[in-house]
Symmetry: C3
Subunit: 315 residues, 3 copies
């Protein structure tokens, strides 16, 4: 799709621009030939350094762009990028190269590995597993039955994923029209799972909108856990069953999340933080400690509150 076609599609003012656009990306990550967007003023400072060929943004901000970067003016940049994203969505199948399977790996007959995928050595890919196009699996990996891994993901060595877990499903991202309809932002990113991670059964890890959702080395994730798009789970973290991370939240290393605990999106949790079972985090945590409750507080304070509440009821 050429730049001037995109401008026309978005209803921007007519522009010259015969450059072929290859994809969409964030201001920070975009490279030449890509389009980016500004939908949240906190990223405004990234405008001056973007290497995108064009940026969708409000008229009032277009003077902040570096010379040579085309402004695609829009009152609703997030809606514009969502409408556009469909045309840059990656197809399910995109390669003619048959999958490569490493030595001494066992692939069950009903597993399905797309063209362009690679599986390392000494892996066990069990029945009903799906591995998407261009996904790369390390060595000594076990994928239990009916695991699904979408396209473009990267799975490290000695990773173990239990039955029914889904890696790389689309993040939950939509732009909303004034009529209350939701326009899908097609997800371009992937999931990266580093070495020695174990993931339980029927857990879900969404792919990133752009870039990667990352589960770092040695982390252990239980059953029925939700990890939203663009999250980063630090090294050696532990997420107990039915916990959930909303999109774009980052856990430091050795964070422990108890059962049914959860965080809102776009937060940062300090390394070595422990979140008790059922805790709900709505603000970033900068000091490690043990936290409980919803709203979240220090665990000691939570215990004190519960004691006071018990007294209130007695009277």
């Amino acid at each position: 799709m050429k730049l001037y076609e995109i401008a026309a599609f978005l209803g921007c003012k007519e522009i010259e621009g015969s450059i072929e656009i290859s994809g969409l990306n964030t201001l920070r990550e975009a490279v030449e030939g890509q389009i980016s967007f500004l939908s949240d003023s906190k990223y405004e400072k990234e405008l001056s350094e973007t290497r995108a060929s064009a940026v969708i943004l409000p008229l009032s901000k277009s003077h902040l762009l570096p010379e040579g970067v085309v402004a695609l003016e829009s009152d609703e940049p997030y809606m514009s990028i969502a409408l556009l994203s469909k045309y840059f969505a990656k197809p399910i199948r995109s390669s003619e190269i048959p999958p490569i399977i490493g030595e001494e790996s066992v692939v069950y007959p009903s597993a399905h590995i797309e063209n362009g995928a690679r599986v390392g050595a000494h892996c066990t890919i069990m029945s009903g597993v799906y591995i998407g196009a261009e996904t790369v699996i390390g060595d000594n990996v076990i994928l239990y039955p009916n695991v699904t891994i979408y396209r473009d993901c990267i799975i490290g060595d000695r990773v173990m994923i239990h039955a029914g877990t889904v890696i790389g499903s689309d993040g939950f991202g939509y732009a909303h029209t004034k009529m209350g309809e939701h326009i899908k932002l097609y997800q371009n990113g992937n999931v990266v799972i580093e070495d020695d991670v174990e993931i339980g059964a029927n857990t879900t890890v969404d792919c990133a909108v752009f870039g990667s959702t990352i589960i770092k080395q040695g982390s252990k994730i239980d059953n029925l856990v939700q990890i939203g798009h663009n999250c980063v789970v630090g090294e050696h973290s532990i997420l107990v069953s039915q916990s959930g991370l909303a999109g774009s939240t980052t856990l430091g290393r050795n964070v422990v999340m108890g059962g049914q605990s959860a965080t809102a999106g776009h937060l940062s949790i300090a390394p070595f933080t422990t979140l008790a079972a059922r805790s709900g985090v709505t603000k970033s945590i900068t000091n490690k400690g043990v936290y409980s409750g919803f709203p979240l507080m220090e665990h000691k304070l939570w215990l004190k509150m519960q004691a006071k509440l018990a007294k209130i009821v007695e009277h």
Copy 2:
């Protein structure tokens, strides 16, 4: 099964009635040849207008039936209908007609589509997908790997269902004996998913006991969400990850349910209502607004309560 056989099976008094009974249904929906039941007095007013051929109900209510409708007297009508339901449960396979696949649809080799099912045009039915008997899938639908859709469901156009999600599993309905055993009420209904709905990974949508569980047009449902039997999700609603709807609850259009929020069963939630993350709804909501907490309250009130609680602890 003939009506007099059913009466004998249920231990009702001996009746004449050589009519063949074709199924079970609610008082409102039953047609000639079907049996209905009265287990909750709030439906008593529907007795006089039922078109069922027979109704299971307490002796004291049988005078409320229209002439010509046979009373099957039972002290425990819900138990009676549960015991009976097994004999009217639909078989997993019921058709000799091979599935019909629309033009330019791709069906992966390990997908299984039962006889009597139909898939529209331009669909992608990925590996490990199961589509039950008589289920009808619209056009431009993507079913990601290992999605299961039970029999009799109806899926609209441009629906996208992510990996591992289950549509049409049996609702959680049992009659309880005095000995504490649970007698399954076999589920006769289906799930209807309207156009432009997207459903995340490893979510579950139960079929209706009778009639339909309905996800209306344009709604977006995240990962690991539970939708109970006979729920109706209004147009353009948004259900964030790990939220849950108990049976027979109706959401108006554009309802937003935050992560890990939930409702009890048999409720009605006003259009344009927002339920914050973790909120728990136990009563119907008639005025739209933003609600939080468990028990549920207006979000503003919830914030005030949290501030007061914080003060209590300080002292």
Copy 3:
């Protein structure tokens, strides 16, 4: 692996011991040829009666062992048993005997049944189902599509398991190094599901570390429920959607757990206890009753507390 090799592997003092060790087990369950361990002093009293051939334990406790039982001294017995467990993990495939399928059972073509497994009569094993090695399935069982049952499990008669559910996935058990790494304790146990149990869709039931996770006769489990390793669910219990049991918790018969309720691990819940939706149990319950809230309290008290809190906010 011979006993002296194990001692060398664990860095224990050199011992004689040419006996071949066949496996690991608890103090109570271990038999001759097995190794056990003491990592929690509450099991100290079981040392004197263990039939294990050797026990990993701190130096200070080794005098409590019966004569003839070898002490493998370790400052961190749980870490030692975790490190050792990898060498005794059962392989995914272990039998040359083709699976045995009972009469009039239907197995869909894409189901995968491992060697050494047995399926009873009149069963329906649908597409994408996986049945592990040595697992035994009773009569009249329905396994809906994409159900996964790991090795060594035992499934009773008339059991119904809905789509996507996982039985026997590894429990979430690790020993933690001083550097914050997690060493997997490979799970040796299984899951036993007794007669007449129904389990919903996308639920997870972990296998036991040693011994069995047990779902007793007639229990009904909804969708998206988590049952941890070594739990026992009593007869005719009901677990509503999105509820969770942490490891080693025992429910008495006819316990009801509401939606999104949960328990901590190693608890015991009295028979006929009802846990309201969202309740969170952190201590054992010895008196049956109806309980709510988190922290848990009698439901009546919880209602009173909510009323008082509402008044506080009014002022």
